[in-house]
């Protein structure tokens, strides 16, 4: 059985490379707004443990369709000889710079590749396209047409009718916006070009589907790790008696901030790698969310919770903790207090937590100074007690994940992460998160709380594909 191979062909600047970049999950593909960005056929094998299941070939755009067709007509005697005539054309023009693009395009097709013909659905159909479609028909290879609506779908209907004359299957596929499900559907469709290709394509699609799940799972673990690290991280420095504290305090604050900024950046990079993005950080793909912004409290209410949401969440967490202590008192009194202890301490916990959250809403962490038995002092900064801070980190991480997940590898625009993030989160989820964060801060049942947090984050990550 021959390995399924698909040559992605068409005119220059019709989105061939975008389709290949999206399906191959390869953001290294050069996609320029102008034509002619692909000058040499490039192969994208889909491999599982080294075994190639199929291969996509990005080809340069056809330039001299009518000249090629004229040559073919001149050298063909009847319909049966057409594929052989195309092969002859390829053989005879292997080193002809005049037909370099045509050779690159036709070469894999005469070697057995299926044809994926790409047109732009935002431009009108024209009779001048017929020459290239005719050439493809002459190859005798199975083919399908893909309409890529680069800017709009204004001419999709027109194209569907026009392409229908030459191709049995015509599909619309927006390479810049297609969600994973549609990408996999298209791949599955490729398998229908040849019955022998169905099984490997179905297998490939199943693997890619599992891989997607794994991406979400791994991303949720990374985000959970980041949040827990931010909740427990602290810096310490001992100083001798008489040494001024202020410079050391500044140093600790800087160390604390730079660690968390670095940690967040590291998490983002790892998530990008999970989704096979290699250069999102480069200028043209630059994320519109600066690292330094993490400590800009003004933006916290954009990424995290609003002040009221924060106070409610803190009150809930404090109420539970206080109520727990009250229950112990009630139990000890044999129920004589009739639950009064639980009620009073619950309310007390809620009020004090809410007040603390409000009062320290703009403080990341607290500086502590302790005397040391050997003399001198131990200065420490962190862990962060700020109720909103883990929400801010979580919000930023989830938004980053969501934007990456929804993005295709053909997209070249900036990742815009400056938008309200956690607004979709229900009050119940916010309260639950606040309790989880509280327990992690207090070192209570950390493995269980980690598992709870990871579960919630996974749910949100997976929901991106379902949204």
């Amino acid at each position: 059985m021959t390995m399924p191979t698909f040559a992605v062909v068409g005119r220059p600047n019709k989105g061939k490379s975008s389709i290949v970049a999206t399906l191959a999950r390869d953001d290294s593909v050069h996609i320029a707004p102008g034509a002619g960005s692909t000058r040499k056929a490039r192969r994208f094998p889909m491999q599982i443990d080294g075994e190639t299941l199929y291969e996509l070939i990005d080809t340069p755009g056809i330039q001299r369709a009518r000249s090629v067709l004229a040559w073919l007509r001149e050298h063909s005697s009847d319909a049966a000889s057409r594929p052989e005539t195309v092969r002859r054309f390829v053989r005879e023009h292997a080193h002809d710079p005049h037909f370099a693009n045509e050779y690159q395009m036709l070469s894999p097709i005469v070697d057995g590749a299926g044809i994926i013909y790409v047109v732009d659905g935002s431009c009108p159909f024209g009779a001048d396209y017929e020459a290239e479609m005719e050439i493809l028909r002459w190859t005798g290879r199975p083919s399908l047409a893909v309409i890529n609506p680069i800017e709009s779908d204004e001419y999709v209907e027109e194209w569907t009718a026009g392409l229908g004359q030459y191709f049995q299957t015509v599909r619309v596929f927006d390479a810049h916006r297609a969600e994973t499900r549609k990408q996999l559907e298209l791949l599955e469709l490729f398998g229908h070009l040849d019955t022998a290709w169905q099984e490997p394509l179905q297998r490939a699609v199943a693997v890619l589907r599992d891989d997607r799940q794994l991406q979400h799972r791994s991303a949720s673990s990374l985000i959970t790790d980041l949040i827990i690290d931010s909740l427990t991280y602290k810096v310490e420095q001992s100083i001798l008696e008489g040494i001024p504290e202020e410079p050391v305090q500044k140093l600790l604050l800087n160390q604390y901030k730079s660690h968390l900024v670095k940690r967040e950046r590291q998490c983002r990079k790892q998530v990008e790698e999970l989704f096979y993005y290699s250069d999102v950080q480069k200028s043209e793909h630059k994320i519109a969310m600066d690292d330094d912004e993490l400590f800009n409290e003004e933006n916290w209410y954009l990424w995290g919770l609003s002040k009221w949401q924060m106070v409610t969440a803190a009150a809930s967490a404090g109420g539970i903790a206080g109520g727990g202590a009250g229950m112990v008192v009630d139990a000890a009194s044999g129920g004589l207090l009739g639950g009064l202890g639980t009620a009073i301490s619950g309310i007390g916990g809620a009020v004090s937590s809410a007040a603390g959250a409000w009062r320290y809403a703009d403080d990341i962490g607290q500086l502590k100074v302790k005397g040391m038995p050997s003399g001198g002092k131990l200065l420490s900064y962190g862990p962060s007690n700020n109720v909103n801070f883990p929400f801010v980190l979580l919000g930023r991480a989830l938004l980053h994940h969501s934007v990456l997940s929804r993005r295709t590898h053909a997209a070249q625009d900036k990742l815009d992460l400056n938008q309200p993030i956690l607004e979709w989160m229900s009050d119940k989820e916010r309260r639950k998160l606040a309790r989880i964060f509280d327990d992690i801060r207090g070192d209570k049942k950390v493995p269980k709380r980690r598992a709870d947090l990871a579960q919630m984050v996974l749910g949100w990550c997976v929901a991106v594909d379902g949204a």
């Binding site: 220059p12 290294s28 050069h30 491999q47």
Partner: protein
């Protein structure tokens, strides 16, 4: 555990943490490949065993099994020392207790209090700690707990295993129970040894008004587990009556003294049943739970899930295998453009009568309109001849602004001779302006055309 992989220990958690930290900086693609290769070699089914296998493989590859400096006192040697101390303390404690009493008298109540009741209380406390630890809590360990000294040797460095504290507690418990059991064994050994060389008289008495019936009831309850199959280790009412002692009453008859020795089987059985047996059970349980929690800790260690997933998941590669050709581009070589007083409608850009819809084309006489780029190459040749014969001052070439410049058009214009000025006229799509990148492409194209003067214009509707 299987696959030749040993039970994980605290040091393994540290190594795992170190390796995960090292991996943070490595490219994910390399990690996928490495971990999947290891995963394929690993035959173990459970997560902890797979992680242990992974750790061992990486240690082997790195060439050093574990980091950290050599210590003069390892966990194992500290445990040996602690066990020896427990044995000696048990032995010495019992011997001192037996030998310290005056007149060779041993108060059964004090014996039971020290070697049975206190032991039971310790066991009870340990059971609570175990229960809480297994449930995921990390109960406080007393600073005086001798097991802490042994455990401290198990940590390769000062890092805090925040999420494995339950396992650490169980390890403390395991050593604690082991030492408690050895202490009791030492006490039992001392009991036999001292008893063999020195006659003792077991008596009972209390400043509280304890009756014979109470003591009889107490001993019956205590002896209940073995009284049916080991009646020799029970205490008879007669013995209880005979061994009642009050310091005010002096002179114990020789008959009574001989019979009072009858307490020892009961006391031995009490120690074995209520002090040693619970210790052994707790020891066994703590060992079992420790392994279980250690496996859990390893599998739940932050970052472990990623390793396990990479070990299991196939390495999926969809990206290009060779880098993109990034040699310098020659925009003019393939894609150029041109101008004139004669209009060339290229590839059906303008429909019939459409030239009059554009301001810039109104001046073109109707007879000066040609078409090319749609029919055969022979048709193109006819159009080229017409242009060459007419030799217009300016050649206007109407093209689709939304299409890229094609070599087809370049081939055509290269055959035009005797024309000095060529204007590439871009026809926009209805209700849309020409995209900047399209305009730029056509400008580049026109610059490369073989005319003395070339320019590009966007046609505007009348």
């Amino acid at each position: 555990m299987n696959n030749g992989v040993s039970t994980p220990g605290l040091a393994d958690l540290y190594h795992l943490g170190e390796q995960i930290e090292l991996d943070q900086e490595a490219p994910l693609h390399d990690l996928r490949q490495r971990d999947h290769d290891i995963g394929r070699r690993c035959k173990a089914a459970d997560d902890a065993a797979r992680l242990m296998f992974w750790l061992r493989q990486l240690s082997t590859t790195a060439g050093s099994a574990s980091g950290g400096e050599e210590r003069w006192l390892t966990e194992a040697s500290a445990a040996v020392v602690a066990r020896s101390v427990a044995l000696v303390l048990g032995f010495v404690g019992m011997a001192s207790f037996l030998l310290s009493g005056g007149q060779g008298l041993v108060n059964v109540f004090v014996f039971l209090l020290l070697f049975v009741l206190v032991q039971i209380l310790f066991c009870l406390f340990s059971a609570i700690v175990m229960f809480r630890s297994v449930r995921g809590n990390a109960p406080v360990v007393l600073p005086v707990n001798p097991a802490r000294l042994v455990i401290s040797r198990a940590f390769p460095d000062k890092r805090y295993l925040r999420e494995s504290q339950s396992a650490v507690r169980l390890l403390v418990l395991r050593y604690g129970q082991e030492m408690g059991a050895i202490f009791t064994m030492g006490a039992v050994a001392a009991f036999f040894l001292v008893l063999a060389f020195s006659p003792f008289t077991f008596v009972w008495g209390s400043t509280f008004g304890v009756s014979d019936a109470f003591v009889r009831g107490l001993t019956n309850v205590l002896a209940a587990p073995w009284s049916s199959w080991l009646p020799a280790a029970t205490v008879s009412p007669q013995l209880i009556a005979d061994s009642r002692f009050h310091p005010a009453v002096s002179g114990l008859s020789q008959v009574n003294v001989a019979s009072m020795g009858g307490w020892w089987p009961f006391l031995i059985m009490s120690m074995l049943t209520y002090a040693l047996l619970p210790r052994m059970i707790l020891w066994g349980l703590s060992r079992w739970f420790y392994v279980k929690l250690m496996n859990q800790s390893l599998a739940r260690y932050p970052g472990s899930a990623g390793i396990l997933a990479r070990m299991k998941a196939p390495v999926v590669q969809t990206q290009a295998v060779e880098p993109e050709d990034d040699s310098p581009r020659t925009p003019g070589s393939v894609l150029p453009v041109d101008d004139g007083l004669l209009l060339l409608n290229w590839a059906g850009t303008l429909g019939t009568g459409e030239p009059d819809s554009y301001e810039q084309l109104l001046a073109v006489p109707p007879g000066n309109r040609l078409a090319a780029g749609l029919g055969s190459l022979a048709d193109d040749a006819v159009s080229v001849d017409k242009i060459n014969q007419y030799k217009p001052e300016q050649l206007l070439v109407a093209v689709k602004s939304w299409e890229p410049p094609m070599a087809d058009l370049l081939d055509f214009l290269e055959r035009v001779v005797g024309v000095t000025h060529c204007t590439v006229s871009l026809v926009p799509l209805p209700r849309r302006s020409v995209a900047e990148h399209n305009l730029q492409e056509w400008r580049d194209f026109s610059r490369g055309l073989p005319f003395a003067v070339t320019d590009t214009q966007v046609l505007s509707r009348v």
